[in-house]
Amino acid sequence: MNALLGQSAVLFGFLAAVSGATTTVAGLVRRRPTLLRRGLAHVWVVLGAAVVAAVVMERALLTHDFSLKYVADNHSRATPLLYTIASLWGALEGSILLWALILAGYLALMARRFRTRADDPLVGWATVTGLAVATFFFGLMLGPANPFREVVGKVAADGAGPNPLLQNHPLMAFHPPVLYMGYVGFTIPFAFAIAALATGRLGEGWLVETRRWTLIAWALLTAGIILGAWWSYEVLGWGGYWAWDPVENASFLPWLTGTAFLHSVMVQERRGILRVWNLSLLIATFSLTILGTFLTRSGVLDSVHAFTESPIGPAILGFFSVVVAVGVGLIAWRGDRLRSPGAIDSPLSREGAFMANNLLFGAFAFVVLLGTVFPLLAEALNGERITVGRPYFDRMVTPVALTLLFLMAVAPALPWRKASGELLRTRLQWPAWTATAVVVACVASGLRGLGTLLAFGLGAFAAAAAVRQLVLSARRNGWRGLMGRANGGMVVHIGVVVVAVAFAASSSYGHRGEFRLKKGESATLAGHTVTYLGSRTVQHPNKRTVVADVRVDGGQVYRPALNLFPNATQAIGTPSVRTTPSGDVYLTLIATPRTDGAPAVLAVIVQPLVMWLWLGGAIMVFGTFMAVVPGRRRRPTEPASAPGGARQAAPPPEVGHEPVRVPVRDVVGAARPAEASGT
C-alpha cells in the first residue's frame, strides 16, 4: 500500500516535471504566454507529489511498515520518535527524497514569487532549468535510488534500525535538512543564471531578483555546515569538529564559491562589470553541490560519512557532466557578447578588494577540491592512491585564510572607484591599533605560534573594522538603520572572525590525554582535574549504554558513555563536554571496565574557545538575516522608509562613506527593471 502510493507519487512528480519543462520550452519557442503560465503551474503538481511521497515515507516509518526495504533497513520498533522521523534522511534513498521535496518547495516559492511574470522568458527559462533538475532527482527515485522498493520474500517483524551514528544525537534531526536546504537553495540562482544566459539578458535585473534567494541559501548552508561540525564534535568522540573529510569538503566547496559570488555580485550591481564571472560562480556553485553529492555518495572516496556504497554514482556523474556542459556551453556561446563595458579604475578600491577576495576564494576552493580528489587523480596518473591529509589542508589553507582576514579588515574601508592613502589612514587607524593591542596582549600572556597570533591579530583587525562600520552607521541612521545589507554583511564578518579565532585557538592550544583510572582516581591535564567515580550500565529499548561518572575540577559530574546498538558490533561513544566560554573539557570513554574495580580508560581533551565556533556560526546566520530583511520593510508603499523613492528601494547604501552615491547600473532590457523590493 505504502509502496504503491509512494511510487505513484514519485512517478507523478517525475511526469509533472517533464511535462512542465516541455510545456515551458514549447511556450518559449513558440512565444505563447499561455503555455509559459501553464508550464509554471506544473511546479505545484511537482510539490504536491513530493509532499505525498515524503508523507507516505514518514507514515511507513511511523507505522513500522517493514515491507518497504528502506524502512526495514533503517528503522526498528525500538527507534525513538525523533530518530524515526529523521530516518527519512538517514540513508541514501531517503535523502534523495528529501532533496526532491526541498527542491519542489523552492520551485513552488519561485512560482509564487514570479506568478505575475510567468510570461517573461527569463522566468520561463528559469522554470525549465528548475524542472529539469527536479526531473533528474525524481528520476533517481524511479531508478537506482528508489525509496519505496519492497522487500523480497517474507516481511520481517522488526527492522535493523538506523545507522548507530545517526541515532545518537538530536542534532542529526536538524543538520541534514538545514544543509540540504542550503545545497538545494542554490538551484534557484543557478536557474536564473542559466535563464540569463539563454535569453541573453545579462543585465542586473535577474541579479536583483535572485540576490535574496542566494543569501538565504548561503545562510542555510552556513548553518548546515556549522551544525555538522557541531554534530561531529558531540558524537564522533575524537574531540575535533573538522577533519577535511570529503563530505565536509563537499559542503564547504559550494560555500566558498557562493561566498565569492555574494561579494562579486556587489561589484556588478554597483559598476555593471564582472557579469560573466558572476554567472560562472553561480554555475560553479551549483555544479559543486552535484559533484559533492557524487564524491560522497558513490563510494569512490573513503569518508566518515559515505555510509553506503550506492549505485547512483554514474547517474549523478552524468548529471554533473550535463550541468557543466550546459553552463560552459552557454558561457562560450554568449560570454563574449555579454562582456561588460566598464573596467576597474584602481586596484586600491572597493571593487579591487572584491576582486582580490574572489581570487582568494577561488584559490581556496581550488585547494580544497584538489585535496579532495587528489587520491583519485594520483591513482589515475600512477596507479597508486595517495591520500593527502590534514597537513596538506593546514599548510595550503592557512595562508589563504589569513589573507582573507586581512582583506576583510581593509575592504570595507575602501571606497568605490579609488582610494587615497589619507582616507585609508583615517579609516584603518583605529582597527589597526586594536589589532596591535590584541597581539601584544596575547604575546604578553604567553601565547605563541606565528600563524595563530596572526589569526588573532588579523581577526581583531577585521572585527574592529566591522564594528567601526556598524558604529558609524548607527550614529548616522539610528539603530533602525542597522538593518540592511551592508551592516548585515559586517555582522557576518564579525561572525567569521569569531569562527576563525575559535578555530585557530582550539586547534593550536588543545591538549589531549588518555588515562587509565580506577574508581576514585584522578588525573590532571592542562590544569583540569578529572576524577573517575565509577560506571554503570543502562538498558534502553534501542541500545545498551555504559555510563561513566567523571567529576571535572571537583565540581559537576559529567557522564561520557559508550553505546552498544544491537545492529552494530562497534560501540559508539557519547562524549560529555563541559563547555565554558573560555574552553571545553571533552571527555570520552574509550574502554569500559571489564570487571568491577577494573580501571576504565578515559580520553580527556582540553580545547579553548570551542563554544565560539557555534556562536560565530549563529552570528553569521543572524547577519545574513539582517541583510535579507530590509527589502520587505522598504516597500514604496511605506514612504517613510523609502527615502529615495522606488529606485532607491534596493537595500540601503553601503555604509555611506561616499558623499555621492553613483547608481551605475545598466539594466539591460529587463522587462521590469530592478524594482528590487520585497517578496
Binding site: 566547496l253 564559491t257 562579486s264 562589470i273 560573466v276 564571472w277 560562472s280 560562480l281 560553479a284 559543486l288 559533484l291 557524487f294 558513490s298 563510494g299 569512490v300 572516496l301 573513503d302 566518515v304 559515505a306 556504497e309 554514474p314 556523474l317 554533473f320 557532466s321 557543466v324 556542459a325 560552459v328 556551453g329 558561457i331 562560450a332 556561446w333 560570454g335 563574449d336 555579454l338 562582456r339 573596467a343 576582486m355 574572489n358 581570487l359 584559490a363 576552493a365 581550488f366 577540491l369 584538489l370 580528489v373 583519485l376 587523480l377 591513482e379 589515475a380 597508486e384 592512491r385 559508550l562 558490533t569 562497534q570 560501540a571 574509550i590 574502554a591 569500559t592 571489564r594 580508560v601
Partner: protein, 196 residues
C-alpha cells in the same frame, strides 16, 4: 570544477579596456578550457573503482608472505605460517586509529561470513598497547587471532593503518589494501582471487 572560477577570471580582469572594434573571445576560450579540464576530471572520476576495492602496489605481491610471529592476546604465540591452507587477511590496525575503528565492523561481518577453514583475519597490532587491544576486541567484538609483532610492519612495508594484505592458501601475498576495507569489497576480492 573550481577551475571555473580560476580560469574564467580572465574576462573580469581586462587590464586595459578592450578595444571595442576587435571582438575578443576570452570568455569562449576560457569556458572551453574549463570544459576540457572538467571533462578530464569526469573521465577520471568515472573510471575509478570504489574506494573499498582499491588495491595498492607492493614489492611483496606475488612473493611468499614474510613470517609474522609474536604473542597473541592470551600470551600464546601466533604465527602466520600456522594459518597456511586458507585465505588470510593480514590486517594492520591500532585502537587509536579512527578509520580502523570504522573498519572493524566490516571485518567482523567478513569473518562471520566465512568459516575459519576458508578465510580468517589475522590482526597485527601497530604501535599500540596490548591491554588497549584486548579492550578493543572485548568492546567491539571479533574473535580472530591478534598478534603483536613489531617487525611485521617493516617486512610488509606498511605505511599507515589500516592496511591489509590478502595472503593465499599457498602463503603468497595476493593483494595489498590501503585504508579501510568493506566486507563486500573483501568478498569481491576473494572471489576474484579464487577464480585465478
Amino acid at each position: 570544477m573550481t577551475a571555473t572560477p580560476l580560469t574564467t577570471e580572465s574576462p573580469m580582469t581586462p587590464a586595459a579596456p578592450a578595444p571595442s572594434e576587435r571582438p575578443r573571445h576570452t570568455a569562449r576560450w576560457a569556458a572551453l578550457a574549463v570544459g576540457a579540464v572538467i571533462a578530464l576530471l569526469v573521465g577520471v572520476l568515472a573510471t575509478r573503482p570504489p574506494a573499498s576495492d582499491v588495491v595498492a602496489p607492493s614489492p611483496i605481491l606475488g612473493q611468499p608472505a614474510p613470517e609474522i610471529e609474536g604473542p597473541g592476546l592470551d600470551g600464546t604465540t601466533v604465527r602466520l605460517s600456522d594459518l597456511r591452507g586458507r585465505w588470510v587477511l593480514v590486517n594492520f590496525f591500532a585502537t587509536w586509529c579512527i578509520p580502523c575503528v570504522r573498519e572493524h565492523p566490516e571485518l567482523v561481518r567478513f569473518s562471520e561470513r566465512h568459516p575459519a577453514e576458508e578465510a580468517v583475519v589475522l590482526a597485527v597490532v601497530y604501535d599500540d598497547q596490548p591491554s588497549d587491544v584486548a579492550k578493543f576486541f572485548a568492546v567491539r567484538g571479533g574473535s580472530w587471532p591478534v598478534v603483536d609483532d613489531a617487525g611485521a610492519k617493516v617486512d610488509f612495508g606498511v605505511r599507515g593503518v589500516p592496511e591489509s594484505f590478502l595472503v593465499g592458501p599457498d602463503g603468497i601475498v595476493r593483494t595489498r589494501l590501503v585504508g579501510g576495507v568493506t566486507a563486500e569489497g573483501l568478498d569481491r576480492l576473494l572471489r576474484k582471487a579464487e577464480g585465478r
